[in-house]
């Protein structure tokens, strides 16, 4: 058995794992990432609020507070460097009762201490001038101008791809089932050997931790349901509208998305199944009822899809980031504000690991990534020019989001290749629009089959267990 050797192996291709991988790829280290699914961004990172929080929620002095504020600063620049969807839209925390005002003021104080810039408490009427559909019942809001929205898929993939461009390796469809200690490192699945492991396994962070560490931990899946609305409603609110937090998280938000849709959610229900990302009637009804409190005129007949994400909730209230055993680093329990903190978690874990290994920064690190072309964001002239260069950009496959064959082919052959319908959808948004893939999915399947040189019936929605069709008609009758 020949082992593939790396200095560091990151387990888990969510936004945390990819951010850490990118950070490590700045150093003279050989690094790899193992992801159990067919694509990165397949767990918590693909189903969340897509918010870059300003940083007033976390208690002073916690890792969450520190990494959120730093992460929020880093993300703004990263979005430019790595080319992912980002909009600095600002956020409101609303309160509906004069009695709740102290709660709002407490948040303000906490935010100031955490180092959040520009925080301001404004009165209901002024807030409604800024946000006309804000409920009449809102008496005051905490305004955080530094809050932003991102595309979590693009952000995760961008971080991962930039790491690959800088020499990191990504192994997809690679589930870690076994870790053995070796004198100066670890053997994973009897396939990989490394000096250090970073555990960024999201919902399975406890399982991976418990493979190595004596002191066992447990992460609880906390599910959150969301409803996504047609782009037609993208202008209903400009800011991200939160309600005053409760013990079950930041409450239900109403927010625009980086792609111009509108999102409401999440619920917060603790469950036991780590794969239990199914929406439930109770949770969907709850978020709809709650969203109505903060914003008027939500057109509930314009919902185009609902989805559920799981947050990995640790026993304590803070992220679990430390060297849990010699050379084994945990970056787990990354619930909200995990997406906002990811680039800072990358830095923080990167510093720990590289200090441990005595690694030096590379000189030729490539900071930027071009990413995929987005023709529908271009003007007619640029677009016409590109179609002349590559006619496939002129063949529109997804009519709702106006995505061309060329863009889909680019995604299939991108740095971290898209090999499933969902992977294509996350990269280029084909099937993400109002018809939800009704027209384009057979066409995208045909393109995937052609580009990957596989039979049409082998195209999957996501992993190997998700076939779209069951063979050709009449096949059973042929011998």
């Amino acid at each position: 058995m020949i082992l593939m050797k790396y200095d560091v192996i990151v387990i888990g291709g969510g936004v945390t794992g990819c951010a850490i991988l990118r950070e490590l790829s700045k150093y003279d280290l050989s690094v790899a990432l193992l992801e159990k699914e067919e694509d990165v961004c397949s767990g918590t990172s693909k189903a969340n609020s897509a918010i870059i929080h300003a940083g007033y929620d976390a208690e002073n002095g916690t890792l969450k507070a520190k990494l959120n504020v730093r992460g929020s600063e880093l993300t703004k620049q990263l979005a430019k460097d790595l080319n992912f969807g980002y909009r600095n839209n600002g956020s409101f925390v609303v309160c509906f009762d004069e009695g709740d005002r102290p709660g709002l003021e407490k948040l303000y104080e906490r935010g100031v201490k955490n180092g959040v810039k520009g925080l301001e408490i404004i009165e209901g009427d002024k807030a409604r001038e800024m946000e006309p559909n804000l409920s009449k019942n809102v008496v005051a809001v905490l305004y955080a101008p530094s809050a932003a929205i991102v595309c979590p898929f693009e952000m995760t993939i961008a971080l991962g791809e930039n790491a690959v461009e800088n020499g990191a390796k990504v192994f997809l469809n690679t589930k870690v089932t076994d870790i053995k200690r070796k004198d100066d490192g670890f053997i994973i699945n009897d396939e990989f050997e490394c000096k250090a492991i970073v555990n960024a396994a999201g919902m399975y962070g406890d399982v991976i931790h418990n493979l190595v560490c004596d002191e066992k931990i447990e992460l609880t899946p906390r599910k959150g349901d969301y409803c996504l609305f047609d782009r037609e409603c993208g202008d209903l609110v400009k800011h991200t509208i939160f309600q005053l937090p409760s013990k079950f998280g930041k409450g239900v938000l109403v927010a625009p998305t980086a792609h111009g849709n509108m999102l409401i959610g999440p619920s917060a229900t603790d469950i036991s199944d780590k794969e239990g990302n199914n929406t439930t009637i109770e949770d969907l009804d709850m978020i709809i009822d709650k969203a109505k409190l903060s914003v008027d005129n939500i057109p509930f007949n314009k919902v185009i899809t609902s989805f559920c994400g799981l947050r990995a909730r640790p026993k304590g209230d803070d992220f679990v980031i430390n060297e849990a055993a010699d050379g084994f680093f945990d970056a787990i329990g990354i619930e909200s504000p995990g997406l906002s903190s990811a680039p800072a978690i990358g830095e923080y874990v990167g510093d720990m690991v590289t200090a441990r290994l005595g690694a030096k920064k590379k000189e030729n690190f490539k900071e930027t990534r071009d990413g995929l072309k987005k023709l529908n964001k271009m003007n007619y002239e640029e677009r016409g020019k590109l179609i002349k260069e590559n006619p496939l950009y002129g063949n529109i496959i997804c009519r709702c989001e106006e995505i061309s064959e060329g863009e889909i082919v680019d995604a299939i052959h991108s740095v971290i290749p898209a090999t499933s319908l969902d992977a294509v959808k996350r990269r280029v948004r084909a099937g993400m629009g109002r018809c939800q893939g009704g027209f384009c999915s057979p066409k995208v399947m045909a393109i995937l089959a052609r580009e990957l040189n596989i039979p049409f019936e082998d195209v999957r929605k996501n992993n190997a267990e998700s076939p779209m069709v069951y063979g050709k008609l009449g096949q059973d009758d042929e011998i």
């Binding site: 007619y380 063949n395 061309s404 018809c435 999957r460 929605k461």
Partner: protein
């Protein structure tokens, strides 16, 4: 490039409209089609039942389409395939992209919108559960089977009793799948009686009225769905849940006119039909932009699409030949069981002597009459034994009876 008439969409509406424009003596016509064939959705509707009104014989979808395609070829009407229109301006500049032409803008004296409709997806119903493979809108499954030639599922549950869902229940059964049941949230079916009998009853497929899917199980591929009875407010009734093992859930829960392009041209849309608001000449609020077929309102029979598009084409041609003068509209009000009318407004001064008004009703009614009132006076009363939302209704109005009228309304009243 400049054309007299540009038609967006080469399905049944676009083809029929193009032929009508040509019949009026106009040579400069362009049909822009996004697919690689003319005929639109008819190409995948391989079942029979088309053309009884138009051709007095029962054709399949591809045969029906072919009758029109052949005429379009005979008339040498220009058409472009694999071209997607990405923009229309209110001064009738149409921009499209394609592999061959790149990005092109054509100018038209008149534009006819004939883009058709799309299916309502799962998300619009907000069904709870997982999001695995194996959930298809009926039309997507129809394409995968009838065009690509693949087996979509082995054990199937269908939500919604729209005609495409019923047709697919039979189609999948014939190809060896087991269709367990069809659930319909309303207390009546949205499909034609004939399809209930020949697609479900013939194969002992149960139809559960006032039932809906409340949960989808299976993380990767559908494993089962839970169906429950609903009360009069369409809320699931606890205790009525039943789980059906299946690998496929087909949705046939309604069609929506596809008007993203219309919006770019500032065309006013109706909140009821989701299609443009048009006058008796099928002209939208934007001068020189006309609409017909399923982009205007969802039809039950393709024959009506063809006849409507024929009228729209004729009016568009007349508009090109002699730009109409001032328009003054009389609104048609729809109420008391009538959901909408097409047209929504009539230019009485310029109208033809006799026009067709098409509409749908909001519920299943028995023993009602369709009534037209002009300034509060009943000018028409048509007795109906049964009226159903699944079937389109029509009536004729004469210019003579509308002259000088200030308020016009179509409604349902008890038959006497």
């Amino acid at each position: 490039m400049k054309y007299d008439v540009v038609i967006i969409g080469g399905g049944p509406a676009g083809l029929s409209a193009a032929l009508a424009v040509r019949k009026e003596g106009i040579d400069s016509i362009l049909i822009i089609e996004r697919d690689d064939k003319l005929g639109g959705i008819l190409n995948q509707c391989i079942h029979n039942g088309f053309g009884l009104h138009t051709f007095k014989e029962e054709l399949t979808g591809p045969e029906y389409a072919c009758r029109y395609i052949e005429k379009v070829l005979e008339e040498k009407i220009e058409y472009k395939l694999n071209c997607m229109v990405i923009g229309i301006s209110d001064d009738r500049k149409v921009t499209y992209v394609s592999k061959e032409d790149g990005l092109c803008t054509v100018e038209a004296k008149a534009v006819i919108l004939a883009m058709g409709c799309r299916e309502r997806p799962r998300g619009a119903l907000n069904i709870a559960g997982f999001r695995p493979a194996g959930i298809y809108s009926a039309g997507t499954a129809q394409r995968l089977m009838n065009i690509e030639g693949y087996k979509v599922g082995n054990e199937v549950v269908i939500l919604g009793s729209g005609d495409i869902g019923l047709i697919m229940a039979r189609r999948m059964t014939l190809e060896g799948a087991k269709v367990k049941c069809v659930a319909e949230v309303m207390p009546y079916s949205g499909g034609l009686k004939r399809n209930i009998v020949q697609c479900l009853n013939d194969y002992d497929i149960p139809l559960f009225l006032s039932h809906t899917v409340i949960d989808i199980k299976g993380k990767e591929r559908v494993e089962s769905v839970v169906i429950a009875q609903v009360d009069e407010n369409r809320k699931p009734i606890p205790g009525t849940e039943k789980e059906y093992k299946c690998d496929t859930l087909l949705l046939s829960v309604g069609l929506l006119p596809e008007n993203e392009l219309s919006k770019l041209a500032n065309v006013e849309l109706s909140r009821v039909t989701n299609g443009p608001v048009v006058s008796d000449s099928f002209e939208t609020n934007v001068e020189g932009i006309f609409a017909c077929g399923n982009v205007l309102h969802v039809h039950d029979l393709v024959d009506y699409v063809s006849s409507e598009a024929d009228l729209a084409g004729t009016y568009a041609a007349k508009y090109v030949k002699n730009q109409k003068g001032d328009r003054e509209y009389l609104d048609v009000e729809a109420r008391d069981g009538v959901r909408y009318t097409v047209p929504q407004k009539i230019d009485v001064k310029n109208m033809e002597d006799r026009i067709i008004v098409r509409f749908r009703v909001s519920n299943e009614f028995r023993g009602k009459s369709i009534v037209v009132e002009a300034d509060g006076k009943e000018i028409r009363r048509v007795k109906k034994r049964v009226l159903a939302p699944g079937e389109m209704e029509q009536l004729f109005l004469n210019k003579a009876e509308l002259e000088g009228v200030k308020k016009l309304c179509v409604c349902l009243k008890e038959s006497v």
